[in-house]
Subunit: 153 residues, 2 copies
């Protein structure tokens, strides 16, 4: 198992077991327990706990410093999908697209069938006929059209 996955799992577990659903940790201590360099914690936070994936990360340096990770509170349905659509730029990489779909599904904004369908439509394998340099643009378009349509249900 990748070390990054172990770190992510650890943080997720902390979030699940804590009373308020957030994880509060100390960077050096966690790095010591898991056995990695401290900066890898930052790598995991920035690659797997981004706002687009539905997480909020706050931190403080100095004595008594901490890192707190919590799930972003989800807004009402229509405004959530609209907000996500508006946040998508002209291009969208496959991994970011998958994260968006996962987050919307977790938040209950997409049915399982719709989520699976969208995930398939934005996966890299669906674009093999399209030149590599253009895929992310088409994907962004596709995602916006689909989420907009999903909103109207």
């Amino acid at each position: 198992m990748r070390m990054s996955d172990a770190i992510a799992a650890y943080i997720l577990h902390m979030m699940e077991t804590s009373s308020d659903g957030s994880a509060e940790l100390q960077r050096n201590e966690l790095a010591g327990e898991i056995g990695c360099v401290p900066s890898q914690i930052n790598y995991v936070l920035s690659s797997r706990f981004t706002p687009q994936q539905g997480y909020l990360v706050e931190s403080r340096r100095g004595g008594g410093g901490y890192i707190r990770v919590s799930r972003i509170r989800l807004a009402p349905e229509v405004s959530m999908l609209t907000h996500v659509v508006n946040s998508i730029g002209d291009t969208l990489v496959a991994s970011a697209a998958q994260a968006i779909v996962q987050n919307l599904f977790d938040g209950g904004f997409l049915t399982e069938q719709a989520a699976r369908t969208i995930a398939a439509a934005v996966s890299d394998r669906a674009y093999h006929q399209i030149p590599v340099g253009q895929r992310d643009r088409v994907r962004a378009d596709m995602m916006k059209y689909m989420l907009t349509a999903a909103t109207m249900s």
Copy 2:
């Protein structure tokens, strides 16, 4: 025996003997064992483990990367979708795509949200960045991937 057949057989064997019916492999390692170049694994996956043939391929790059191949479980009630997927050729015009979606929705094979989503993804508007002559090919691909994904649960 062709090398591609050997690779396909190897993957199939992995799937049969694994506990969950899926094969998880590392591209370079498998290429080394079988004695072919790594990229041939991709060729085999894209020619013999397509959604139309009933397989789902997922992969991840980077350290600790992997390729996972699994067989799509087909429930009796979704044989309709399977049949539709198989009946789609290499190209698919927008009007035919809309008709297919409408029929599947009417038949109760798609939820309303999924139907709206798919309809958006195969509508002409979604393809304005793609050269006209290529749209129907991409659309056919997109439709097959989405319907295949929609059959899974």
